[in-house]
């Protein structure tokens, strides 16, 4: 039985990445979300923790638009160089299995998105401090929310990675991503539908309790995430492995 991930191969992926581009995205996405979150004057509800209040304002736009967008961009990025110079043939002729290539690409996307989450969190803490928020910092809630949001985006990562692996064109998966982000606003309104909609899952998992959010059944959400994740990983990796190049 071969290992699911080839560490040697995974390291080679790190050599290929153009880090300047990645760092730009890592900074830009969270920065815009924070700017929107803190920039709009809003009436704070009575008795709310001011950190959580601003966190929800930030996360609202972030998970609704920027985060799914970033997931799609990263997924497209890790496949880009193989598509550009027909590199699939070359790496398929190396002694790594196609599943190992798939899993390495997936791992890379998930690491990059986790970094995005951490950038958002640290950015939020810095801006919050500068802004002069002085309620006690709800550490555990913030950290769990960030992790949960990341886990809830795994189905979207699998789906976007699948699209990027199968379409040679860089723009197609990205356009698709944008098209499907828009209905997310409606989907999130219904906890039942949203739990199954990959573009809504991160939002539903990451938003703290807030007057703008309908409450959802956490078990439903968990089931939705788990089943869509399995569905997308199995289907896209199978197509990727079976294909002729």
């Amino acid at each position: 039985m071969e290992s699911l991930v080839s560490l040697r191969y995974l390291r080679s992926e790190f050599y290929k990445i153009r880090w300047s581009m990645i760092i730009g995205i890592l900074l830009l996405g969270p920065a815009i979300s924070l700017w929107i979150g803190f920039g709009n004057p809003t009436e704070m509800s009575e008795g709310a923790n001011d950190w959580l209040w601003f966190f929800s304002l930030t996360v609202h736009k972030y998970t609704m638009f920027f985060y799914p967008l970033i997931v799609g961009v990263f997924a497209a990025f890790v496949c880009r160089y193989e598509h550009l110079a027909n590199g699939w043939k070359q790496i398929f002729c190396l002694p790594v299995s196609r599943f190992q290539i798939y899993s390495s690409k997936f791992l890379l996307v998930s690491l990059l998105t986790l970094l995005t989450q951490l950038c958002l969190l640290s950015g939020f803490l810095i801006v919050g401090t500068i802004y002069g928020l002085n309620d006690p910092l709800p550490w555990s809630i913030l950290i769990t929310k960030v992790i949960k949001g990341w886990l809830a985006s795994l189905p979207l990562m699998a789906l976007m990675l699948g699209c990027s692996l199968l379409w040679k064109n860089f723009a197609t998966p990205l356009t698709l991503n944008v098209v499907f982000i828009l209905p997310s606003m409606i989907m999130t309104g219904s906890g039942l539908l949203g739990s199954w909609y990959p573009w809504s899952q991160p939002f539903l998992a990451m938003m703290p309790k807030h007057e703008w959010v309908t409450s959802i059944n956490p078990f439903m959400l968990f089931m939705g995430i788990l089943s869509t994740f399995i569905l997308f990983v199995v289907s896209t990796s199978t197509i990727f492995i079976k294909r002729d190049y």
């Binding site: 080679s12 050599y15 550009l84 043939k89 070359q90 398929f92 002729c93 002694p95 299995s97 190049y245």
Partner: protein, 304 residues
């Protein structure tokens, strides 16, 4: 018996209903430079893709180093270097970093990178970004990737495509050098006979998906020697008659043919025929180049 490095059995690939590769039995022995020849679209690349496990055969099997590619792909590929179609490169990386990516996957030391660069004479340009390379340099980089692991088998698909004459010569020299120096077996495909002729020891010709010739280059050259054709009355009888006199004719398309011979002997043959009461209607002296043979071999199929 010589050890076979590549062996395919009734290898077939169908796209839709059409067979791009049809019952091909390739045999490449150890230490050979096998020239895999065929016009564009004959099925060379498809065959090579199946050899490497990039495409799955519809029927038949591929055995490399005596092991089935479907079952033992990873271990086989460890000892195979390849360049399929256009070279692959990461344009935003330098030549050296391109090799580093591959060496990382294969777990090879730095030494291999430098040696591969040297072999294709890219050491000087190794730190430039590959997107600034000329086509020939990219092609050489692709060959460097193939050589990186010091493979026992090298599969090169049209490696001189798009190169200028100097570049073609360089690749040719490299290919001739490798089997002697490192005991490598090479399969090299091309649509140009002239290219294969200068490096190959064996030749396989594929046309419309079928392997129509496979033998040593010597045998192919034998065919190229040309012949003398006589158009006579009752050719079969004439052949038997001549044989009884000690000649070695053969019949092809109703003509009595001979391998090339001296002028006096031709006169003797004619004289013999006339004495034997055969009418001689005409005589042709055909000299053939390898190119002609190639065209003849592939042209014949066309009329079928």
């Amino acid at each position: 018996m010589t050890e076979m490095i590549i062996q395919t059995e009734r290898l077939t690939k169908k796209y839709g209903g059409h067979a791009s590769v049809n019952n091909v039995n390739l045999q490449v022995a150890k230490g050979e430079v096998y020239g895999f020849l065929g016009p564009n679209g004959a099925g060379k690349t498809t065959t090579i893709k199946m050899l490497l496990g990039l495409a799955k055969p519809t029927k038949g099997s591929v055995t490399i180093f005596g092991r089935d590619i479907q079952e033992d792909r990873k271990n086989i590929l460890r000892q195979v270097g390849s360049l399929v179609e256009s070279p692959t490169y990461y344009g935003h990386l330098s030549g050296r970093d391109n090799l580093k990516v591959i060496a990382q996957v294969l777990g090879l030391p730095k030494k291999n990178i430098e040696e591969a660069l040297q072999m294709v004479r890219l050491t000087k340009d190794a730190d430039r970004l590959v997107k600034g390379y000329s086509l020939g340099m990219k092609q050489r980089l692709g060959i460097a990737v193939a050589l990186l692991a010091k493979p026992q088998l090298l599969i090169l698909d049209e490696p001189t495509n798009g190169l200028d004459p100097a570049g073609i010569r360089e690749i040719r020299e490299l290919i001739s050098r490798l089997p002697e120096e490192q005991g490598v077996t090479i399969l090299i495909s091309s649509h140009l006979l002239s290219e294969i002729e200068q490096v190959a020891t064996s030749v396989g010709i594929i046309f419309r998906g079928q392997l129509i010739f496979q033998d040593s280059l010597e045998v192919l050259k034998q065919r190229a020697k040309g012949r003398i054709e006589l158009e006579v009355s009752r050719p079969t009888e004439a052949k038997n008659y001549l044989e009884s006199l000690g000649w070695q004719p053969f019949i092809d398309e109703e003509r009595v043919c001979f391998t090339p011979m001296a002028r006096e002997k031709v006169a003797d043959v004619v004289e013999n025929l006339v004495r034997g009461d055969f009418s001689v209607y005409g005589m042709n002296k055909i000299s053939q180049s390898l190119e002609n043979i190639f065209i003849e071999l592939t042209g014949k199929e066309q009329s079928l």
